[in-house]
Subunit: 397 residues, 2 copies
DNA sequence: TTGAAAGCGCTACCAC
DNA sequence: GTGGTAGCGCTTTCAA
């Protein structure tokens, strides 16, 4: 409070030297360990008006300088900036945002569902994109109700949002589109006209994985996929991957074996067991699950089926997670960090009005590690079964 | 703009029915796909004044209702709330924050360093704590300079912050304490008087791990730890774990073998190799690294040393990551999600003035999985070496 | 129990 | 180039 009194009594007639002296006092008072919550009380902070007074200019001028407007004399700019630095002034974010009508914030709506090791990368990528552009990054977990989404938009907390877990027909997308609220998707709908997105190309990824396995000689290739209700709800990855799997198998003349399961280790273990019971002659599996695919490994171990000698496994997963598996998991690479970063970048570009609509669907990349081999006639004799000799990646970091 | 005109012309003399009708018009106008960016333009949104006008009360009253103040007649409250619901009004967050002087936001300062599979849990835990308390959650990556930290505090973007990667003497802590800005630590300093923290008890964890290995008969137990400069800088986990290791080994009469390395897979692999060269008779390792500990596994594999038959390994890691290892990693459990959640909860409690200082140092829990066994005299004959028969956890989820 | 009005700290328009 | 000033949308005394 003492600081406040001092500050408020400063008048524009004081010389710069005196102002500086006062700044020092202010600093030491504020800085003393006297236990008063100076910043949190938030009322005795330096304002743009203090700067203006100290510099002998108007608040408009200070504001212009703060916002890098061109129409300021170089001398003034320097003088004011010196004082800003000296008093250690930073504009009050909420005030700026209110007055400017923009929050310079993007929000990531992050599905609450459950932990998954690879999803950290989405978050960190998007956060990095925000900080690179001097934007604030707002992370929202918990799945939103329609009402909550409306509130988020109206609250003006963020200028734009990143959506994940997109369904082919997604009410959030319809809503945001209708009210004209800026957003981008990680994922995509059935119709994406006018909407920015970046998505994994599950169609091509599945085709690539299936063809790779088929080319090694596999005939019975199962798809471990999402639970049935994910398909029914039109969850993009679920529908696209299954369709592509069906199509590819048909083209290649292979039987189709689909095993739906929740993305938990226990359910996936069960599903794998059931699958092996039904199809003892299975030689390959494609998993749509992330790190929970470890449950598939464990289920195979328990039945004494070796990877890749007896059964080959492919998943969609980040490099980092894939390399934790033993044997390392051959996978369609899921560059989640990049996806997050690109989404953030696209959203900010959109907010700044630069560029048109971007539909980003990077070509899937199959990274060969050690969980895939040709099928072995002499099963249970895996060590005699030669491992395919492909490009191997041990991308340690 | 049409919406704006309509809205602005509404006067308090209009009947409620007409107001409702107008609300419908507004809704459909705003909702039409005419391509005007209604929300993003942010100027034609409904305000508290519109509500007041429509309800025939003052803005003060609406504000009171919005903030659940007690001094409002029940009838008024109901009537106004009905209108709020009808018009789909949500207060403008920035305006609220500016006027109230609080942002109801916490920020997590997340070390940029590098990806680590387990750290997602810190983030999601803290985010959950925020959302549970109706707080906004900002994630800030990139390590802050002193200047940036000052700016963050002064900007009033957040009411309080969560700090990670704490050093024994941490300039950020000194600064925040000095200016009285609310914060909590995941980690702790040498002196934590008056500061809330939650931390892994590395001292006890290391002691526990070392004693466990010693009790199985291990005599040469190495500590794979942080690089030397982390110690020099006084990074808490580095200093505390090494000290505890030294002390425990001394007490048990064991030699000390310390191998520092950066937390990257390649460096860790190198360090492991070097370690095995220097100490071929090593039978156990304790790793301070997270999922990068996979590099230790791989280095051992390459030298044909089996886990746990030839070498036992213990790390500090989340359950989820530990179970991806093969054999599953016996570990001091790192409940990172809970740590994040607790930190968030403590910070918000502090902001709301409830309760005193909390120093949370949960007792470390050693979870026995399959990477530890008694040392085997007949090395290279691992399969003959019996695996210890302890509590085993296969916590699938 | 309610209303009027003075801010919160900043931006941006308009005049000089 | 610069200054005055009217908001931005809300909270919060202080009176009534």
């Amino acid at each position: 409070m003492r600081a406040t009194c001092l500050k408020r009594s400063v008048t524009s007639t004081l010389s710069l030297d005196i102002i500086r002296w006062i700044a020092i006092i202010l600093g030491s008072v504020t800085g003393s360990g006297a236990g008063h919550k100076s910043m949190s009380a938030s009322s005795n902070a330096i304002t743009i008006a203090d700067i203006a007074r100290a510099a002998g200019v108007s608040v408009s001028t200070v504001s212009r300088i703060l916002n890098n407007k061109p129409d300021v004399a170089e001398g003034t700019r320097q003088r004011v900036q010196a004082i800003i630095a000296e008093l250690g002034f930073t504009p009050h974010a909420q005030a700026q945002r209110l007055a400017a009508g923009r929050s310079r914030t993007i929000a990531l709506l992050f599905p609450d569902a459950q932990l998954s090791l690879m999803r950290e990368e989405f978050i960190l990528g998007a956060a990095k994109a925000a900080s690179d552009a001097s934007y604030t990054f707002y992370l929202m977990t918990s799945d939103l109700t329609r009402h909550q989404l409306m509130a988020l938009c109206r609250s003006a907390l963020a200028d734009g949002i990143i959506l994940m877990e997109i369904h082919l027909r997604d009410w959030r997308v319809s809503y945001l589109k209708r009210i004209g609220f800026p957003f981008v998707m990680i994922g995509r709908c059935a119709n994406n006209k006018g909407i920015n997105f970046i998505d994994m190309d599950f169609e091509r990824g599945i085709a690539q994985a299936t063809e790779h396995l088929a080319s090694l000689g596999h005939r019975k290739i199962a798809l471990l996929t999402f639970p049935d209700d994910a398909h029914e709800r039109g969850y993009g990855p679920a529908v696209r991957s299954r369709d592509s799997y069906m199509r590819t198998c048909k083209q290649l003349g292979l039987p189709t074996i689909v095993a739906p399961a929740n993305d938990t280790r226990s359910q996936l273990a069960e599903a794998t067991d059931a699958l092996l019971n039904r199809h003892p002659d299975l030689t390959a599996m494609i998993s749509m699950h992330g790190d929970t695919t470890i449950a598939v490994y464990r289920a195979l171990e328990r039945r004494d089926r070796r990877i890749p000698a007896d059964v080959s496994v492919i998943a969609f997963i980040t490099r980092r997670a894939a390399e934790l598996f033993t044997p390392p998991l051959t996978a369609i690479d899921f560059p989640a960090y990049d996806f997050g970063y690109q989404a953030g970048r696209m959203l900010i570009a959109q907010l700044q009005g630069s560029g048109g609509v971007e539909h980003v669907l990077p070509p899937p990349q199959l990274v060969l590690r050690e969980s895939v081999a040709p099928p072995c006639a002499s099963r249970r004799n895996g060590s005699a079964c030669p491992v395919g000799n492909h490009e191997r990646r041990d991308a340690y970091r």
